[in-house]
């Protein structure tokens, strides 16, 4: 296999004529943003302009080739009339399953960033839970949004694409859960993309006040198209003292989508943040997930499953950032890679000097489902504290013929045996999903994908 030349410093030489200061102003005006949001957008537009396009010399981008991104073509908002969708008339190709009231406390569907359906359980509204689109939230709850918007990391840690997102965000959700309010079922968000001209710049803010708890199920899907589509989404999460959030995502985008996802959580004293990120679709995925353990006793579990299909590329970065003493992070990312597929995993563990007695664990496991599949794993440890525990490890393996023979000797056909072994591989992650309709959905996708390569194993 040919590697792209490494001396290419800038992967995108083209300029995008639509990403202008004028258009930042136009977007703010079109959305009816208050002045502080307009100013915030402009500030990040300046940063966006200042930051160079990432290239292969940047550690974080060393393995990802984005030269095929049709960067110059996308527009930050659409001016012409858009089709009207409703829960009864969803766009062609919409195959995402809706959750029922018994399965979720709330369901929201956005098509191309426009809210098409939304429902939040009445008793939660009465308790002060806010769940609405960002545009509305900026207007209706300005103090809350302003307090948190783009505050999850220092400005100097932003990159070209997070700055782009902040300047030109055009969709996304705002969730606010007041002190000590518990949601017993997930909030189910479905993001569906049809338009291939629009830069899908989602910005989602999730705030849990002290002692609150919730499960957020964020789903991404799109119509099958020839033309490339681009999703550049950001999620900022704030987990207050003693609060607890599980964020589950299921990305099953079509093969024409370039998908950039930036997600980060700030986790305060004794709070728990559990990620479970399922990456199944897209042509190209560049995903960064950060847990910033900011308060003493904070905890995070970071789980990932990904299925690298033929001619697809999945690049996942994780950050376990220990900023306070007695913090714990536990990470397990599992990838299955089909013939001709490629994955990269890069995991940073950083333990600050004052974060003594912290505990960090990181494991990346890769299962090759065919020849000519590639998986790379790069750990990066920055440990300054001296009284900590930190373990990391990565493995690459294939389906073991002895396991196959064992299962077949018990009467399972070869395809059944392979399916069982692949399911077994992912089970240690999927068992952390309490809601059967979510884990079943992921299992079905895994089974479907595995079925297509059984004869190559």
């Amino acid at each position: 296999m040919l590697h792209p030349p490494l001396d290419r410093e800038v992967m995108i030489k083209k300029e995008n004529p639509h990403l202008t200061r004028k258009n930042v102003e136009a977007l703010a005006e079109w959305q009816g943003n208050p002045d502080w949001m307009r100013q915030a957008r402009l500030k990040y537009f300046e940063l966006f302009e200042k930051l160079p396009m990432p290239g292969r010399r940047d550690e974080e981008w060393r393995k990802s080739d984005i030269s095929q991104l049709a960067y110059d073509r996308y527009v930050p908002f659409l001016t012409e009339e858009q089709p009207e969708y409703s829960i009864d008339s969803l766009p062609e190709g919409f195959q995402v399953q809706l959750s029922t009231e018994e399965q979720s406390n709330g369901l929201c569907i956005a098509v191309d960033g426009r809210k098409t359906y939304s429902k939040l359980a009445q008793q939660l509204q009465e308790k002060g839970v806010i769940w609405t689109d960002m545009k509305t939230a900026v207007r209706k709850y300005p103090e809350l949004v302003q307090k948190y918007f783009m505050t999850s990391v220092d400005e100097n840690e932003e990159n070209k694409f997070t700055a782009l997102n902040a300047a030109f965000w055009n969709s996304g959700m705002f969730l606010y859960i007041p002190k000590n309010v518990h949601l017993d079922l997930p909030l189910h968000m479905i993001n569906f993309f049809d338009n291939t001209q629009l830069l899908h710049n989602l910005h989602t803010l999730i705030v849990l006040e002290q002692g609150a708890s919730a499960v957020y199920f964020d789903e991404f899907a799109s119509s099958e198209k020839q033309e490339q589509a681009w999703v550049n989404s950001a999620v900022e999460i704030f987990v207050g003292d003693g609060a607890r959030l599980q964020y589950i995502s299921l990305q099953n985008l079509s093969g024409n989508v370039y998908n950039f996802a930036h997600r980060r959580a700030r986790i305060e004293r004794d709070a728990v943040m559990n990620w479970l990120v399922g990456t199944f679709g897209s042509e190209f995925t560049k995903s960064t997930i950060s847990s910033i353990l900011n308060g003493e006793g904070a905890e995070t579990q970071m789980l990932g499953i990904a299925f690298g299909e033929r001619n697809r590329f999945i690049d996942q970065h994780t950050h376990q950032i220990h900023e306070a003493p007695h913090t714990r992070s536990d990470l397990l990312f599992k990838n299955a890679i089909m013939e001709g597929g490629r994955t990269v995993y890069r995991g940073v563990i950083r333990i600050a000097q004052h974060a003594q007695r912290s505990d960090a664990y990181q494991a990346n496991r890769n299962l090759m489902l065919g020849d000519n599949a590639r998986a790379e794993s790069i750990p990066a440890l920055e440990i300054i504290a001296n009284d900590v525990r930190c373990t990391h490890g990565a493995t690459v393996g294939k389906i073991d013929p002895e396991q196959l023979f064992y299962l077949q000797s018990r009467g399972l056909s070869r395809p059944e045996a392979v399916q069982l072994l692949v399911r077994g591989f992912f089970f240690p992650v999927l068992q952390h999903i309490e809601q059967e309709y979510i884990s079943e959905r992921m299992s079905e996708i895994i089974e479907e994908r595995t079925a297509t390569v059984i004869d190559k194993i």
Binding site: F405, Y406, S409, R410, G411, L412, S413, E416, L421, P428
Partner: protein
């Protein structure tokens, strides 16, 4: 499809890693018969067991294996299993992420698909409970990953549990006795003996005579250098116990 009543091995030659291990082995096992095969290390005992179930690393270069008169050489391992063959492995594979319960349910279904009657969940649980008791295994075994982190003795019990639950017509036990203490050996033998009857045949492969104090074979065969060197009744095993293998190899 009914389960096989007769396993015939005819002039079997088997090669693995470019080396011929079995060199013309003949043996017939009918249901209702318990056969023991004894032999020194390297005589080809495990090769025979793996070849009968169709392990891909073992190549049959000559001869045939038949179930009820039909050659099974071209059959996948699962087809052989569905015809009634079972192998209790000497070294069972560990399958992390797959619970014993889930696996047994799938394996039972796979059998049933070939043989008709399906069991309800409650019937299945009842059957499992009964067999676990027989093998003095705790019910918590059902929630563990299959063989994953099991001790040697636990693995052997798990093999016999599967044997008892799946009820094949012809079972091959590959050194099931090795690594078991005397109490575990008695338990495992009791599990095996509960299956013995007119519809069940077995080939018990062992290095030591010890297991034959608890499992009573009708026939004993001695395997030396890839061939049956001598066959006889249970007295042959006792003779071996006393005199070792040397008197046969010297002949």
């Amino acid at each position: 499809m009914s389960l096989a009543k007769k396993l015939e091995i005819k002039n079997l030659h088997v090669k693995t890693e470019e080396k011929e291990i079995l060199k013309g082995l003949d043996l017939t096992i009918n249901v209702g018969e318990i056969h023991a095969i004894m032999g020194p290390n390297g005589s080809g005992k495990s090769t025979l067991a793996n070849t009968l179930l169709g392990h891909p690393n073992y190549e049959v270069t000559e001869g045939d294996i038949l179930l009820d008169g039909e050659s099974i050489l071209e059959m996948e391992p699962d087809e052989r299993a569905k015809r009634g063959l079972f192998l209790a492995f000497q070294y069972p594979a560990e399958i992390p992420g797959v619970s014993v319960m889930n696996f047994l349910r799938l394996a039972t279904k796979a059998r049933v698909n070939g043989n008709g009657q399906e069991m309800s969940i409650s019937e299945f649980r009842k059957l499992l409970k009964e067999k676990l008791e027989l093998l003095q295994m705790d019910e918590s075994f059902l929630n563990r990953y299959l063989n994953d982190g099991f001790s040697g003795g636990e693995k052997k019990r798990m093999e016999i549990l599967q044997l008892a639950v799946l009820k094949p017509s012809i079972a091959i036990l590959d050194e099931t006795d090795s690594g078991l203490d005397i109490d575990a050996l008695k338990t495992v033998a009791a599990g095996f003996n509960s299956l013995v009857g007119p519809d069940f045949g077995a080939l018990v492969i062992t290095h030591y005579q010890r297991i034959l104090n608890y499992i009573k074979p009708n026939f004993v065969h001695i395997l030396v250098d890839g061939k049956i060197a001598k066959s006889g009744g249970p007295e042959l095993a006792l003779h071996l116990e006393e005199h070792g293998y040397a008197w046969i190899t010297e002949k």
